[in-house]
């Protein structure tokens, strides 16, 4: 009985901690490692990439570059914040960096970070490359 109680307490403590752990701000998925020269570093996304930004950020500027064109139209990137659609950015010129500044909704959240999801409408080649994502500027 005492053992069960200890396990239950540990599980509850772990659950409380894992709801909003401080390290989650550094978590990403669907993003390859950093590449490129120091002045224009970037990471390749896959078809779906996720990253986190601090909750007090009010705007973010996303540098995006398609590199490879899509067949039958521009490459587009749908951006959402905490599972709510925010904007869809089109990248008509594959060779140009596009910097879009997007306002982050001022919805109340008890978490330290908000999740940003990028969904690309096409990927390329064996490495499932989406678009290049530069360093995000937050304000």
């Amino acid at each position: 009985m005492r053992r069960l109680l200890v396990v239950a307490i540990l599980l509850v403590a772990a659950a409380i901690y894992l709801r909003d752990p401080p390290w989650i701000g550094g978590m990403t998925s669907g993003l390859r490692g950093w590449e490129g020269p120091p002045e224009m570093r970037f990471r390749w996304t896959s078809g779906h990439a996720s990253l986190f930004v601090p909750r007090d950020a009010t705007t973010m500027t996303l540098p995006l570059k398609a590199v490879f064109p899509a067949s039958g139209g521009p490459v587009s990137v749908a951006i959402s914040v905490d599972d709510r659609w925010l904007a869809t950015v089109e990248l008509p010129d594959p060779s140009a960096w596009v910097r879009h500044t997007l306002p982050l909704p001022r919805r109340a959240t008890s978490r330290r970070f908000r999740r940003i999801d990028l969904r690309v409408n096409r990927t390329i080649g064996p490495f499932n490359l989406g678009v290049q994502l530069g360093e995000i500027a937050l304000h």
Partner: protein, 430 residues
């Protein structure tokens, strides 16, 4: 001392496996666990449970811009245009509890619930590690019934680190091999129980394990020959088995029906995707039965199982010196392993892509461990042989571990290793 070590062996192997797993991903020695074959074994789970879509379309749209990359071996079937996954659903089915936990944690921590979050990736990786350890638990139970503690300990250490078993429980743990190792080892254990007492629980468990084996890797159906051939050492023994199976025909019929029922979802997936119940999901890849690479899969520097895991030669020796219970498994094992080797050697990519040692044989290591134990038991009765055999086996295990680390560090090639490369890279860690 041996008794204590045997009792705690799985816990110690688990600590070593977790340390290895942490090193692999902490030091970025490999991409996240759901990669290469691991992706296609796993992808059913997000497709079914997160997108509610058995066709794989929705997950393709989300992960990959509508088209799965070539490495996934998921292709559009020419006649229907629907996605067909080369790898069946068995691994995904066994991963379900881990996937459920990862999904709950992803929701709780606000990670993406697309099936590829940090939790999803590592719960998938750790599921393979868990099945590897579960396989060791079953193997230890089986061996302890028939061999002394010293022999059991030597066998467990040798099979875990003298072969590529540890690698497929840790580094490529989302592949099918750790799962198949668990299933085939469990099949051996359940077959012994079933011939002793065909209680309905044992019969049911045997049916489900048989189905999962087929669902995890279709060619592993050949291991089911173990059930009718269990204990067969002569034609008379075979006749006795047939008679006993006939006496138990109602139970056997029920078991076959249960296995078929469990396999049905896979057939339904094939039917939906291709319009046919039975297909070769690999598409253009297939068997070249007329020109098997037998020397290649057994002895070559590329992927030869005896070259990279020489301790398994002792399991072959064990087939000749096995006694008692193990003797009754020799016929079945020889037939199964001969057929398995022929199938592996006949596959168009006989090296099985990138792998440490030959991963086609990893699934059968639980069965081969019995004959390794038989050989060690035979040696234990000949004191003059103990020291030299222990020295040779110890050296072979250490070499296997060293080469596994070289593979993890990216020093050894993942395929097509040449003799020149092997010599040049021998025991180099930089």
């Amino acid at each position: 001392m041996s008794r204590t070590l045997v009792r705690h062996f799985v816990a110690l192997a688990g600590i070593a496996a977790l340390a290895g797993y942490t090193a692999v991903y902490g030091l970025h020695l490999a991409d996240p666990p759901v990669r290469s074959d691991g992706f296609s074994y796993y992808v059913y789970l997000p497709s079914w449970f997160l997108y509610g879509d058995p066709t794989l379309n929705a997950v393709a749209d989300d992960c990959c811009g509508g088209t799965f990359p070539e490495y996934t071996a998921i292709t559009r079937w020419p006649a229907t245009g629907r996605w067909v996954n080369a790898h069946p659903i068995g691994v995904a089915v066994q991963m379900i509890p881990f996937f459920a936990a990862a999904t709950a944690l992803s929701w709780w921590s606000n990670l993406a619930r697309d099936g590829f979050s940090f939790y999803h990736e590592h719960f998938a990786g750790l599921s393979g590690l868990a099945y590897f350890l579960a396989g060791l638990v079953v193997l230890r139970w089986l061996l302890r019934k028939h061999f002394g503690d010293e022999v059991v300990l030597a066998t467990l250490v040798t099979i875990t680190w003298g072969t590529n078993l540890f690698h497929y429980g840790v580094y490529d743990s989302a592949y099918s091999h750790a799962f198949s190792f668990f299933l085939i080892t469990t099949l051996v254990a359940l077959t012994e129980c079933w011939w002793t007492d065909p209680a309905w629980r044992v019969s049911l468990a045997l049916s489900v394990v048989a189905a999962l084996m087929v669902l995890t890797r279709h060619p592993n159906a050949i291991f089911l020959m173990l059930v009718p051939l269990y204990g067969v050492t002569s034609w008379d023994a075979l006749r006795r088995n047939i008679d006993r199976l006939w006496e138990r025909r109602a139970t056997v019929g029920g078991m076959i029906a249960m296995t078929a029922l469990c396999v049905t979802p896979q057939l339904a997936i094939y039917k939906q995707a291709t319009g046919r119940w039975f297909v070769s999901s690999y598409g253009t890849m297939g068997f070249t039965f007329g020109s098997p690479h037998l020397a290649g899969v057994l002895f070559s520097v590329q992927k030869g199982i005896f070259f990279w895991s020489p301790v398994l030669a002792l399991a072959v020796a064990g087939l000749f010196v096995a006694r008692g219970w193990a003797r009754g498994l020799v016929t079945a094992t020889v037939l199964i392993m001969a057929l398995d080797t022929y199938l592996i050697a006949s596959w168009s990519d006989w090296q099985f892509g990138g792998s440490y040692s030959h991963r086609g044989f990893t699934d059968s290591l639980g069965l081969l461990a019995i004959f390794l134990a038989s050989f060690f038991a035979w040696v234990a009765e000949r004191p003059r042989l103990v020291q030299p055999v222990a020295t040779i086996v110890g050296a072979a295990v250490l070499l296997s571990v060293a080469q596994m680390i070289q593979y993890w560090l990216g020093i050894l090639p993942i395929a097509n290793t040449t003799w020149g490369q092997y010599n040049e890279l021998f025991l180099r860690f930089r």
